[in-house]
Symmetry: C2
Subunit: 765 residues, 2 copies
């Protein structure tokens, strides 16, 4: 009863929208958390709610970053802790990035076991030597907010669900005099040498344990707090400290700290809790998180999951997912389409994640505790990826959340000693991952689209301008001086120059809107800097040196040390999203540009180039078009700036089924916090935001048979697709509210005021 | 102007008392912070205010706990970071225990230098190889709240002062193009291997730096935060991370983190700040501390020392000391008497230390942030030492503070997973140092004397009883079962039995007061347990085994493995403070007891026994009476329970000048957070609290020529000494308010209501 009330409250905090076209269908059934868990998708199959703080998921391995003193390349496979091909599960941890190309997290690994206590995890080959267990996909169920698996070695069925800040476990034990639940605080994803800085545990009573885990690594100084409650008192407990770094023992000898001692601290702690169980007995565990304190974690637990009704928590979580997924109701006769679409919708609503306690407190970049006034604070902004389509998607489907994300970025800016907006915001840390200052397009796009309150516009502009003037950051000083980043001073210089130029264009747009003509002029000029790295002799973007010359050594196919990052010259040279027409002109006009673009999709890429890119599979490449990484995500839409938009339509319809399948190995590359999925959602609906910061989308070719976008403002935007089929990939005609569109573009403003877009499809251009 | 206002505010927060006998004399001149800095006093000479959070003091060495993988015994000399015999100063750190026999702290070592930057400290033999400097005691001044020294190698005069939570440095530089201020976060006192857990620094701007240092060791999980402000912008800054445990560098290569990079973290950081100085230029630094956060530290700085007037901060600090010292105004024709007395008063007002920010927030045992409602939270309770005379002294001289200390202990109890009052409360940690549960006598004494509000009495009793029932703690389970702690199960068993029995007697007194007859009966019975370790065959307390037998192997002179801690059987067997008369009876009555007690003071102790005790000097022993440790502190007063109280008088007057001299080597042992000094104060005034929890003091022989105790309640208690001289050590007569005392005892109640005690002295008993 209490829990139902809670679920209602949770629902109430979600952005409301008039449920006009209220779906009768259960959409949760189509979202498949296992998609992307094989090979390079880097997704996790466990339980979470939309944008939740808790991602409670099985880890099939948690490899050490180093093996025998050397970097272990296989660690890369375990960014999300789970690989579908694995045969064993080590345990269930509570935090996971979704789809990243680097990782961290994996906090507070729990594992239920039976039999003699084993405190080491064992190995994948010999799980019986430790607490891990074999499992089979036959005994595995993964749904939004729910995961179940049978742990064969222990004869335990483990079920997981979650609220925003609380992970809930339900373990069905056999009869056992020796049942245990392990809490492994040494476990973590991407374990650097000595990644644990410190752990701290208090056994408050025989059902409640609190503590924290402090790590360094990708996030330099990260502390995650927990409060863990058992549904049944443990009969005994204990720990091992695996580190040489021990607490002071001069006066501690009087206590046996390994058994029933309630106040533990150390670098490498593993704990166990002992139970006696009857056959079929369910022992439940609630693990509440907080970035603030154990007190905060306990408060989160009491607020979100005060009781022990596992099914109710699961129902509440799936209700949140139904609400989230039903923001777009698509039609298709094929289940695979719905599975692809709602799996994409699911992956596009996993991160950024809530990083704030129920009372509004959160940890800031300065490691102080701040209060979020009037917004929800989020973390895990993988902005180099997500500025492209994910945040633009949020402007459409959940402007309220995106506005809060912008507030989170501005708070980060306020707390930054570098006076910069986030590059990769990571649990009260800046990890400086990837390039550019892509908070800028996210913020500018949100402000210009009216998603961010107008009274925040000047503050937003100030933060963008200050960030773009941070001369000590990644070549900006030279960029300002030379008009490009010189490769001999700062690697990946072409990528940086191109992306800075685009970000600068965004700043100019916002400055224009606010009438700041000097800023507009300055950044409009900077937006032209892409021209400075264009080598007209070869028609490619090319690294330039500080002396002004282009670097002689140059390979347009390689992604390695050619002035680019996660892309080669072929893909990156097309990156002028702020002005494709100018790029086309620069490249010699349509006559030269079109065959060039065609060959990107059709050329043969020699094998050696595949090996260079670690975060995509071979499937993630079509010809030389790399969809598994982001720099070319807009490229299929560039035909819209030529006389052959139909080619965009064909390319998009080819990419969609090739790159997205509702199977564990169905993603062609890292999902990258939802960017890959956001590309799917837009493209399947028939349009794409080529240049966030611009008011328009480029039209493509819808893959669905119809869709209704239920907007937060209460309006609905209807997409009707006539004569749709797998072969009819060409748009014969598109009518907006009855008016035929003369250009292959759609205005954001037209979508959000509601209306209807009717595509009429054809089998020929 | 602002600062003067602040000083007034600070004064206003100190317990007020009517300044009846307002002293015209400057008492601060008599307090000598250098006393005890040679040999085993373990005091520090630096700047602090009464009970201040900051103890800003020079460290002459900060030895590592280990040398070549072995314990370095010399580390023990550096409990307070300073040894008078040393020739060099490493720097000035901000936290120091006073007089402890173990240590920690030494946070945030600052050192001003000139010349080429050196980031290692150098060695005592070759200071020129590092940043440390030679110095001379000729160029050194140490006063309460003020310290000055010339750093010869750098030609810099360093001056230090402090408010409660802010240390202030004033460095007078020579002309230099290469002036530096080093902030060494790797430095610390009693540096265990890898004692640093983590350090974190933000260079907020060119005058403000914030951060923290997190350590493990004596305190398992200790984090101290700072905010540091310079009076002059530095021109550049940088750091070295001396640990192999580095932050993630994948995306960090783009920054040179060693120079002008503002957001640092790591295990072993040393920072430097560069200046250009003119001849005689003063660069000032304010270092504010907090146990809560860097935000808290900054708030503390802004509240306590908003400006840059070094002299005003010093004046305010010394005004606090004058107020503190003038609580007892003594008379003596000899300066040495006043120096001894006010140095003792000074040392008795250093700890417990404030552990709370200006806004009342403090870190609790659970590492959560708590708010102290209506009290000041204190830490560093070295209770095994200080329950004896220091807290009883506070009941007399500053009941308000002692009430707050009791509140701090009760808050600790509330936060303890062991459900115990503090044993050794240490910056949001329990370090379990030493034995007994001596929060109990502190609390009981304060409650029974009306110092703690009556509405807290029941809460206090509950905490005491719960603590005394914690069977898992240090033999209590067996103690409850057998009536003594068996040596074969728990070492130092006799000491524990004796001290538990005394603590239990205290609980019984409080229970009686509250009419809890069952508790009174239970603990009165436990209070008799001292009898269970008394071996009547040899007339000594003696370790007993679990089978009931006394341990055959036994040496009454050794302190090593004889069932005692910091004392031998000779000293400890006299420890029944709750009932000396019963002890004397047990030992065969006065006829046997008196010669026994005499021989304690006169016997010859073979050399080998001196070597056993590391924390006292040979001077700390008279015969076999060990004054340098605490267990015998009441012993000289035991003659009062015989027909020869005059012997108490003679012994006390012998001990006083022998154990206390106003010179660096003037303390015969560790000052132990003020317990040794509190013994001096009481004894010099002519009485001593043999059994805290009892309403009376035992009279001794006053060493002063007269004294006025200015009580917080506005009353004054006058001690007049007639016919005083070094030879007239015997009390011929004592009259309280004109009434001749017939017993050698004085009631606490008679003192606090004000009045006059007149001693008439004589040269013979």
């Amino acid at each position: 009863m209490k829990l139902l009330l809670l679920a209602a409250l949770l629902l109430a905090t979600v952005p409301t929208f008039a449920q006009k076209a209220k779906p009768t269908e259960n959409l949760v059934q189509y979202a498949k958390p296992l998609v992307g868990t094989a090979r390079m998708g880097h997704t996790y199959p466990g339980a979470t709610v939309p944008f939740g703080m808790v991602q409670l998921s099985p880890d099939t391995d948690t490899l050490s970053y180093e093996q025998n003193g050397k970097y272990n390349p296989r660690v890369y496979e375990y960014c999300a802790g789970y690989q579908y091909a694995d045969k064993t599960i080590v345990g269930f941890s509570h935090t996971h990035f979704s789809g990243t190309g680097h990782s961290d997290l994996g906090d507070f690994l729990l594992m239920p076991t039976t039999g003699p206590l084993q405190l080491n995890p064992g190995t994948a080959d010999q799980p019986e030597r430790g607490f891990r267990s074999r499992f089979s996909h036959q005994n595995e169920v993964a749904e939004p907010a729910y995961y179940r698996v049978k742990l064969d070695d222990h004869n335990i069925v483990a079920e997981l669900t979650a609220s925003n800040r609380v992970g809930m476990h339900q373990y069905t034990f056999p009869q056992s005099e020796q049942a245990h639940i392990i809490l492994d605080l040494t476990a973590g994803i991407y374990n650097y040498p000595d990644k644990n800085v410190w752990t701290f545990v208090r056994v408050e009573n025989d059902t409640l344990v609190t503590g924290y885990r402090q790590t360094h690594g990708w996030a330099r100084t990260r502390t995650e707090y927990f409060a863990m409650s058992f549904s049944k008192p443990f009969v005994s407990y204990g720990s091992r400290n695996l580190s040489k770094k021990q607490v002071y023992r001069g006066f501690w000898g009087r206590f046996d700290q390994t058994k029933n001692f309630p106040e533990l601290a150390g670098e490498q702690l593993r704990l166990f809790f002992d139970f006696k169980t009857t056959a079929g007995e369910k022992v439940k565990v609630k693990m509440a998180l907080s970035g603030v304190s154990t007190e905060g974690a306990l408060r989160n637990m009491r607020a979100e999951v005060p009781g022990w009704d596992f099914e109710a928590v699961k129902r509440a979580g799936q209700a949140l997912w139904q609400q989230e997924l039903s923001k777009v109701v698509v039609e298709s006769p094929k289940r695979v389409d719905k599975e692809n679409f709602y799996t994409a919708m699911y992956h596009a609503a996993l991160s950024p994640t809530t990083y704030m306690d129920v009372d509004g407190q959160y940890r800031g970049l300065d490691q102080n505790i701040h209060k979020a006034e009037g917004f929800t604070n989020y973390t895990s902004f993988s902005l180099w990826d997500t500025y492209r389509a994910l945040h633009p998607l949020y402007n459409l489907l959940q402007p309220k959340r995106n506005a809060d994300m912008v507030q989170s970025m501005l708070a980060h800016f306020d707390q930054s000693t570098m006076h910069m907006l986030p590059i990769w915001s990571h649990y009260a840390n800046e990890n400086w991952c990837m390039i550019g200052y892509h908070s800028v397009p996210v913020i500018v796009d949100a402000v210009l689209k009216g998603v961010v309150p107008a009274d925040q516009a000047q503050r937003a502009l100030d933060a963008c301008v200050t960030t773009a003037h941070q001369q000590r950051y990644d070549g900006i000083g030279l960029y300002e001086q030379l008009g490009y980043v010189p490769e001999d001073k700062s690697g990946a210089s072409v990528s940086k120059t191109l992306e800075y130029a685009y970000d600068d264009w965004c700043i100019a747009q916002l400055a224009r809107k606010l009438g700041k003509t000097d800023i507009e002029a300055e950044f409009s000029k900077r937006a032209q800097n892409w021209q400075n790295v264009y080598d007209a002799r070869i028609n490619f973007m090319r690294p330039r040196l500080a002396d002004g010359s282009f670097r002689p050594r140059f390979d347009v196919l390689s992604t390695h040390d050619q002035g680019f990052i996660e892309g080669n010259a072929w893909n990156y040279s097309l990156y002028v999203p702020q002005d494709p027409a100018a790029l086309i002109a620069k490249m010699g006009g349509e006559k030269k540009f079109l065959p060039h673009l065609d060959s990107l999709f059709t050329m043969h890429l020699p094998d050696k180039f595949f090996a260079e890119t670690e975060d995509i599979t071979r499937d993630g490449i079509i010809g030389n078009y790399v969809h598994g990484n982001e720099p070319a995500h807009h490229v299929a839409y560039l035909y819209n700036w030529t006389s052959q938009p139909y080619q965009t339509q064909a390319r998009v319809r080819m990419i969609l089924p090739k790159m997205y399948r509702p199977t564990p190995d169905g993603l062609g590359g890292n999902d990258d916090c939802g960017q890959m999925s956001a590309w799917y959602i837009f493209s399947a609906l028939g349009f794409y935001p080529v240049a966030p910061g611009s008011p328009e989308y480029a039209l493509g070719s819808p893959a669905v048979y119809g869709a209704t976008i239920n907007l937060e403002n209460g309006n609905a935007f209807r997409i009707t697709v006539k004569n749709q089929s797998d072969r009819n990939v060409y748009v014969k005609e598109a009518r907006l509210n009855g008016q035929k569109l003369t250009r292959p573009f759609l205005q954001y403003a037209d979508v959000v005021k509601g209306g209807e877009l009717v595509f009429t499809m054809a089998g020929k251009p």
